[in-house]
């Protein structure tokens, strides 16, 4: 190589072009890489979003499932509650019915006890005075009568003579004609008169609320007249009606039996008196 030969340090144009192309290519690669990174970042964020969304949906599904289970349980409990309410209602109805029946039985028992005691007492004496005392006691203590009188027919059958009374003024205690008096009419008809429409605790001597005919076998021998009851007894009860029947059927028989026994000198009949009673 000579001295006069200048060395050219500039790269040949081909290399320059090639370099530029490489640089351009690199620049495109860098841009693509940058775009790729951006896209990657975006996709990653999207994936995270999806994961979060997925987690939320899963939680939602689980919550919905639990809710469905709870709703099912609530429905079952509601059915059980309704069932219990129906059973309670039935039990309450049964209890009310039982209480009512129990009350009825108790009242029936009380009524039977009154009737038993009255019947027992009516036949517990063999003196007319004792029988009358018991009749008065039944009227006063069991029926709650405040003013009353008992009449027996005279032997000629024309009058009803007062034989016992309570709360009746003396001037009113006079024999009543069997014909033409309200008491006489009851004795004739043999049908008790009981006024259930009005309150009986107002004493009324003109229109007594109760007249009971007294019978012995098929004969009516007198009557019990109740003019009024105690203040706390404005109405007659079922037991009272039964007591009226009892008095109507047994009071006179007890009284007549006691009178006959007294007339017989209180001598008890011997066995011969019952010789022809066998049936």
């Amino acid at each position: 190589m000579g001295e006069g030969t200048k060395r050219n340090s500039a790269p040949p144009p081909d290399l320059m072009r090639e370099r530029d192309e490489v640089l351009q290519s690199f620049s495109r690669g860098a841009k693509l890489t940058e775009q790729f990174m951006q896209e990657y970042s975006r996709i990653r964020e999207h994936a995270l979003d999806l994961e979060e969304s997925n987690a939320r949906l899963r939680a939602q599904l689980e919550a919905d499932d639990a809710l469905a289970k709870l709703l099912g349980k609530v429905e079952r409990l509601e059915q059980e509650r309704q069932d219990l309410l129906r059973r309670t209602e039935r039990a309450e109805k049964a209890k009310v019915s039982f209480d009512e029946r129990f009350g009825e039985v108790e009242n029936e028992f009380a009524s039977l006890a009154n009737l038993f005691v009255a019947s027992n007492q009516l036949h517990a004496s063999l003196t007319p005075r004792g029988v009358v005392r018991r009749i008065k006691e039944i009227l006063a203590q069991l029926v709650g009568a405040e003013a009353y009188a008992m009449y027996i027919a005279s032997s000629d059958g024309k009058e009803l003579v007062p034989v016992a009374s309570e709360g009746v003024p003396g001037e009113l205690l006079v024999p009543l004609p069997l014909e033409g008096s309200s008491v006489g009419a009851v004795v004739h008809s043999r049908q008790a008169v009981i006024d259930e429409e009005r309150e009986t605790n107002q004493i009324d001597f003109e229109r007594p609320p109760v007249i009971i005919p007294l019978g012995v076998d098929d004969t009516t021998v007198g009557a019990i007249v109740i003019f009024g009851t105690l203040e706390q007894k404005p109405r007659f009860s079922h037991t009272d009606f039964e007591l009226f029947k009892l008095l109507g059927q047994h009071a006179a028989a007890a009284l007549v039996g006691a009178a006959l026994f007294e007339q017989a000198g209180r001598r008890l009949p011997g066995a011969e008196a019952f010789r022809d009673v066998s049936v």
Binding site: F116, V117, I138, G144, L230
Partner: protein, 125 residues
Amino acid sequence: MSEYSCLVVEDSPMMRQLLVFALARLKNLRVTEADDGVDGLKKLASAKFDIILTDINMPIMDGLKLVKRVRSDPTHKDTPIVIITTEGASEDRQRALQLGANAYITKPIQAPQVIATVKELLRIE
């Protein structure tokens, strides 16, 4: 075996029988009967009772005197006493309550009322 004992003081055999019938509805209640106040005191001297039912109007010794005697006796001073009166005898009723009677029943007596009163005083369910 009887859990409670009751003394019924009443001169009328009918009323006494009725009270005994009513009280028979209460299980575990033994009833002793007395004809009047004096008889009642005799029964009280020989036994202790959980409750006493007494009429007011009685011969020999009436219910008021009986209530007074029972309340002055340390053995029976806390024994519940139920008096049986007529509606009109409000003064006697007030007097009996003042003397220490615990409750009253008016005649004509009703078995359910007798039972309810005794159950309440004896605290029987």
